[in-house]
Amino acid sequence: MNAANWPDAPSSTTEKLFQLENVRVTFGSGEREVTALADTDLKLTKGEFVALVGPSGCGKSTILKLAAGTLRASQGVVYVAGREIGANPIRIGMAFQNPTLLPWLNIRDNVMLPLKIVPPYRHQYRSKRRTEYKDKVEALLEQVGLKGFADSFPWQLSGGMQQRASLCRALIHEPNLLLLDEPFGALDQFTREELWEVMQNLWLATKPTVLLVTHDLTEAAYLASRICIMQARPGRIIDDRPVGFARPRTVEMTADPKFVSLRENLRTAIVTARHSLGDTK
């Protein structure tokens, strides 16, 4: 990657927890080259909750993979905590659309997994896993309404409960950056609304920086403090707007005229982008 593109001064970038600078991601080569993400800039300030919305194939998940470090940019630079990604690994937590709990571990051990892997927790894993870490897991499980389920196995829990456990696993190691890849997408409406509240409370408790990918506009407006709208083929960010509603937000607020108008604005922006795309083709 380009060393010349280092941030101008460390002081100005320390607050930028995650940053994409002119990032381009392509798959394949030659005739078959597909641009998943074209010349994208994105900045996440520490403690921000940013939602990425857009149609499928717009590169939302690509941005998450860049942040998670499972994908490299073809061009441009990805900064994490003011330094090029990989140089200064920060703690990352991630929840996926599927709960992806390990079926052979009970909920406690599943949630504890990051403490076994991520420094500095890993160094004391052996000595603390039956005492301090165990209490930590139980406390977090209680926060999401899973008190008493620590000894259960994933298959004994409903989809919504598994997703709660998955959120716990994403948060147990107090990540600086929380990545959410449509974690509520596979749930029914009521469970989803419940989990929005759970998620909001978790975020308010420790204020991690969050990057949420979703195609549910209500979800984005409910949870996020900023929404980035993306467009497909090639994937890029076309709009970026703050969400000013006071917290804690409630499900009732989603019927508020201001909330409804924001949601309709978002919808219009996405639909317009799709139409203009049709014209250029």
């Binding site: 470090g69 992806t100 390990l102 997994l113 892997i117 190691h173």
Partner: protein, 259 residues
């Protein structure tokens, strides 16, 4: 009495019925002892000749378990090597299938040629017969580990060996243990083949010598011992499997392996 208990009782009754019919048919048709001895005669012979049979049985178990142990070691390491990447899996799989489809009896003379008759070729035959199911299952288990589960570890910054230890290997355990119960019976078959062809000890050898002196009840007593040993080994490894990999919730009774 619940459904599974009733089934178990029924299969026990079926086994008894089999031996009773055998006994009756031999009596009614006056079948010669030289052709097919009655179960009662076979059991009497077994009790009678127990001191002579016992060392052979121990030798057979010893050879089987030793060969099986080597089979596990080699099978696990080869399986982990081949299953470590999609590329290795695709490249090595055809050769593996080729090797595993060779009738293993055919390699016994080669082992005898290299190591002489006795325990060594029997251990090697047991090993080579048990190794392939383990390799194939371990490699398949590793190669089919869900990428989503690996992604969970990668986002946590886990090293390759941590992913292997925490996700891939536990995920592969059901495959591994399923292969063990198949493999242990195969190791057993390998041992007996080698003992029959080229050894001076073991149940296979005992049966060979007994048949050449037309001691047919002793041949059948040997067969009974083999059946009992084979079933025991299968049961033991099925039990271990169900204890270790209970999370797959598989309900799997004692089924007869066909080899």
């Amino acid at each position: 009495m619940n459904e599974s208990q009733r089934r178990r009782l029924m299969s026990l009754g079926f086994i008894l019925l089999f031996f009773v019919l055998w006994e009756l048919i031999c009596l009614v048709f006056g079948v010669s002892q030289l052709v097919l001895p009655r179960p009662s005669v076979i059991i009497a012979t077994f009790i009678d000749r127990f001191p002579a049979i016992m060392p052979h049985a121990i030798q057979t178990i010893y050879t089987t378990l030793l060969g099986f142990g080597f089979g596990i070691l080699i099978g696990l390491s080869l399986g982990m090597l081949i299953g470590s990447s999609r590329l290795a899996f695709d490249v090595a799989y055809p050769l593996l299938v080729g090797f595993s489809s060779i009738p293993k009896v055919a390699v016994v003379p080669i082992f005898v040629l290299w190591f002489g008759a006795g325990t060594v070729p029997a251990v090697l035959t047991a090993m080579i017969m048990s190794v392939f199911p383990i390799v194939v299952n371990v490699a398949t288990g590793l190669a089919t580990t869900e990428p989503e589960l690996e992604d969970v570890m990668k986002t946590l910054g886990a090293k390759k060996h941590e992913i292997l230890w925490n996700v891939s290997l536990p995920r592969t355990m059901p495959f591994f243990f399923a292969s063990l119960k198949v493999s242990v019976t195969l190791a057993f078959v390998g041992t007996v083949i080698a003992e029959t062809v080229a050894s001076n000890r073991g149940i296979g050898n005992l049966m060979m010598i007994a048949s050449s002196s037309f001691d047919v009840p002793l041949v059948f007593a040997g067969l009974f011992v083999l059946a009992a040993l084979g079933v025991s080994l299968y049961v033991i490894f099925s039990f271990i499997e169900s204890r270790v990999t209970g999370w797959t919730k598989r309900q799997d009774g004692l089924s007869v392996a066909s080899h």
